[in-house]
């Protein structure tokens, strides 16, 4: 599954760019076998990605997986060791080409916003507009877009975290870049604010229709923002797909458990079913069907329901309001978690665990 290319019917066709009603010309982005080695260590290994103009892609992975390095190599802040990066029909990085960041027409929002502390909000936003006719009009325009009209005279130090990120976005968008990169842009914000800013940002970049890559380690954020999600680990892109596709058809048990809670169960495969500690589950092979009979499957907690009376025991209850999560110990002492809408059981209750999903992904054991 390494370096699987995004399978999108539009991919590759309209890469030359399209004009949107906001005046932006966005472009597609194509990574081909991009690798970055730093001090002899492979940080990114032949990453390939084909992004249709105007798409928002989440780059999801645990910390240290190389996702930020990949983003920085798109920005030109990191040299590629091999492979190439193309924006529109211009190769911006390859073995022989390294376009400096200032010539790439790539906008970037950093985790900390990186606003220039000695410049006012307006001067920050117009920093990238040197040589533009009507740069102050443009600055006001983008400040209004991010809902920060009237803040032009303020200094960055006087803004809240959410306001700073909005200004950082406005600054990145002001010179009408072809591609927008967001590096964990909401992680410095507290939980409530993060959700609000995230929704506003998504709405805005969808409106503008700019090709966007968001780096995040948060699965929920990746799914909420990205039309496509690329899952990275240990320097490699493991799978690319729409959020529901990733969740339902994970390429590997690791991807399955990284993009959501999954219960790994082992069993034996027979006639389209895998028999496990919670019974016989309808299974589908993710890779070609194996020769062995052993199989492991991933079950989602919401694919299970509890019924009263049985050989399993409820060991923990977490009540979330909209649903309840149960920890259940099975007769063979293995543990599963179950998500249910009703809080009818309590710790110590004897229950039976039943599968109610359509099927589970299976891999050879």
């Amino acid at each position: 599954m390494l370096g699987r290319v995004l399978t999108n019917p539009l991919a590759g066709s309209a890469r030359a760019g399209r004009t949107l009603n906001t005046g932006h010309t966005t472009a597609g982005l194509w990574l081909s076998e991009a690798s970055v080695h730093i001090g002899g260590n492979p940080i990114v290994e032949s990453a390939s990605l084909d992004i249709t103009p105007g798409t928002i892609v989440s780059l999801l992975g645990p910390s240290g997986c190389g996702k930020t390095t990949l983003l920085r190599s798109i920005a030109g802040l990191q040299r590629l060791s091999s492979g190439s990066i193309t924006v529109g029909d211009v190769v911006i990085a390859s073995d022989s080409v390294h376009l400096p960041p200032e010539q790439r027409r790539v906008g970037m929002v950093f985790q900390d916003g990186a606003l220039f502390p000695h410049l006012s909000v307006a001067d920050n936003v117009s920093f990238g507009l040197r040589g533009w006719a009507g740069s102050s009009d443009r600055a006001n325009e983008v400040l209004a877009l991010v809902d920060m009209a009237g803040f032009g005279d303020r200094m960055p130090g006087t803004l809240s975290g959410g306001q700073r990120q909005r200004v950082a976005l406005a600054r990145a968008l002001a010179p009408q870049p072809s591609v927008l990169l967001l590096d964990e842009p909401f992680s410095a914000l507290d939980a409530g604010l993060r959700l609000q800013v995230r929704r506003d940002v998504k709405k805005l970049i969808t409106q503008i229709g700019i090709t966007t890559i968001v780096v995040t380690h948060d699965q929920e954020e990746a799914f909420a923002l990205g039309e496509q999600v690329a899952v990275m680990s240990q320097g490699a892109i493991h799978q690319v797909g729409a959020p529901n596709d990733l969740y339902e058809n994970p390429a590997s048990p690791w991807v399955a458990t990284f993009v959501g809670e999954g219960i790994g169960l082992a069993g034996s495969f027979e006639g389209g079913y895998v028999s496990t500690a919670i019974g016989s589950l309808p299974a589908r092979w993710v890779s070609a069907s194996p020769k062995t009979a052993g199989a492991s499957v991933i079950v989602r907690p919401e694919q299970l329901v509890l019924t009263a009376g049985g050989s399993a025991e409820v060991t923990d209850v977490e009540y979330y309001g909209h649903d309840v999560r149960y920890d259940v110990t099975l007769r063979d002492q293995s543990n599963v978690s179950v998500r249910s809408l009703s809080p009818e059981f309590k710790v110590g209750d004897r229950v039976d665990v039943n599968f109610v999903g359509t099927s589970v992904p299976a891999w050879p054991a």
Binding site: E102, R104, D112, A114, P117, H118, G128, A172
Partner: protein, 525 residues
């Protein structure tokens, strides 16, 4: 932050603060009043001082500018580029700090004197080095021993600026060079200004080096006319005080309130590849280290070695000065910390407006040259009925040191008070009723590291001090600094070499623990 609602500090603390402020203001005020009181032809005296004033300003300005250029340039090279060996070099370029500037100047003079290492090396190619005197060598030598005051804050600041700032500038269309000048340099402004101010004040009050290099600045006039022509001496001292005050005020005004938020985070900045400039950059750093450390130290070593071999070094002559230096330095440090801590408590714990004014007075004590403080205290002791006995006693010398260097303990004392936050004090009050036990088991351990480093800074400055010691030390009380000074004046270069090396070693050990370890960010990053 917890604010002490309605809490009133003990009354003695106010009294102490007021006495302290008076003590710190006294020398300066006394000089100003005395200048008027001595009468003479004031206009004529001031007219006579114009030349020395011009030279003081010329020297201080040129030294500040070159120290800023050298310090900032080195900081950039050693923090932001791929210069090989930059970690080690970051330590080496701070080393000139350990040389008191008069020892540095003496070492250079001894190096070019017949028999000195530079004289010998140049002699091979038939060149006789000129006698160092006047503006040019004073400027060069003082720059060498003051640029670390700029290097340290600027390097620390460079390490604290998130790389994302420059990177953002790049993505917004600036080249690397433009990004540095438009984004990074403005962030360095306050560090450069405060470092430059320190260098300026240091040079204004410099005495030993300019005396050796025969450049007639105000301090030299004060020193040479202090007995023969007191009106001139006092007028020059007054001018020096006014100059220091003006410079401090101007700097405060220029720096403004736009302080960048001080982060404690450290970043690994992107390093700028030097490419074909690498050799040149390496050479520039090498030249600074060569002249700032290698030449003076080797000069002292050569003379010391020759003296030891020839049996001309009197080691027993150094024993008492070494003991005296350690004794008076430690005592000064202890007294300075003891008198400053209550003030720090007022400023930090009670947040009184008036107390911050008093702490400003204490800090101003640093701006007044040690020579002027000494002159004032001498005159005060001699001319005030009933206190004459205090002249040339140890207590008066220590008072002078404390007034001059107390400010260096201020920051550390504030840190020490902050180390015991209100919440911690309150919870320890719930657990232990005896204030004495609390002080021993809670306050003291928490405050100790800061107090030690504050005291250490005072100690370091004290052992390097020359002019106040010359004027105020009891007769026969020799310190390492006065011993080196006296030996140079007597032309005993071997004794200068040995004494200088002992002094440098002492100050190197203290500098290592106090300056380098505290600026770990700069050295270890």
């Amino acid at each position: 932050m917890a604010v002490s609602h309605g809490r009133v500090p003990p009354r003695w603390m106010f009294g102490h603060a007021i006495v302290l402020a008076a003590a710190f203001l006294l020398p300066g005020l006394f000089v100003l009043i005395r200048t008027v009181g001595l009468g003479g032809d004031l206009v004529e005296t001031l007219g006579d001082s114009l030349g020395p004033l011009g030279r003081t300003i010329l020297l201080s300005t040129t030294v500040s500018v070159s120290a800023v250029v050298v310090g900032t340039g080195l900081a950039w090279l050693l923090v932001r580029t791929d210069l090989p060996g930059r970690r080690v070099l970051r330590v080496l370029v701070v080393l000139p700090l350990v040389l008191p500037s008069f020892v540095g100047a003496a070492a250079f003079l001894a190096a070019v004197a017949p028999g000195g290492p530079v004289h010998s090396v140049l002699g091979v190619i038939g060149v006789v080095p000129p006698r160092l005197s006047g503006l040019l060598p004073s400027w060069q030598i003082l720059t060498l021993f003051t640029y670390p005051y700029v290097f340290l804050p600027v390097a620390a600041r460079l390490l604290a600026i998130p790389p994302s700032l420059e990177e953002s500038a790049r993505l917004l269309g600036r080249t690397g060079r433009q990004a540095f000048f438009e984004v990074t340099l403005p962030q360095l402004r306050s560090a450069i200004l405060s470092g430059g101010l320190l260098v300026f004040l240091y040079t204004v009050s410099e005495f030993g080096a300019v005396q050796l290099l025969r450049y007639d600045t105000l301090t030299r006039v004060i020193y040479s006319s202090r007995l023969s022509d007191r009106p001139t001496s006092f007028a020059s001292a007054s001018i020096l005080i006014l100059l220091a005050v003006i410079v401090v005020l101007v700097e405060r005004n220029v720096r403004g309130s736009a302080r960048v938020n001080e982060r404690s985070e450290r970043f690994t900045p992107a390093s700028q590849p030097l490419g074909r400039w690498r050799a040149a950059a390496f050479g520039a750093v090498g030249v600074v280290i060569l002249f700032g450390v290698a030449v003076p130290v080797s000069s002292l070593t050569v003379w010391a070695w020759r003296g030891i071999v020839g049996g001309r070094v009197n080691f027993s002559r150094l024993v008492m000065p070494a003991i005296n230096t350690a004794f008076v330095g430690t005592l000064t440090a202890a007294v300075a910390v003891a008198v400053i801590v209550p003030l720090a408590v007022l400023v930090v714990r009670y947040r009184l407006r008036s107390s911050s004014a008093i702490s400003a007075v204490v800090i101003a004590g640093f701006a007044v040259p040690g020579l002027v403080i000494a002159l004032s205290l001498v005159s005060f002791a001699v001319n005030t009925p009933g206190v004459g006995w205090i002249y040339q006693t140890l207590p008066l010398l220590i008072v002078a040191y404390v007034i001059h260097f107390g400010a260096q303990a201020m920051g550390a004392a504030e840190d020490a008070v902050r180390a015991v936050p209100d919440k911690l004090r309150e919870s320890s009050q719930l657990l232990e009723s005896s204030a004495l036990v609390r002080a021993r088991r809670v306050d003291a351990p928490l405050m100790r590291p800061s107090l030690l480093s504050g005291g250490g800074l005072v100690l370091l400055s004290t052992i390097k001090e020359l002019p106040a010691t010359l004027l105020l030390a009891p007769i026969g009380f020799r310190t390492l600094a006065t011993e080196v000074w006296g030996s140079y004046e007597d032309g005993r270069f071997a004794q200068v070499g040995v004494g200088g090396l002992v002094l440098i070693s002492l100050s190197a050990v203290l500098t290592w623990f106090l300056v380098l370890k505290r600026s770990e960010a700069v050295v270890a990053a």
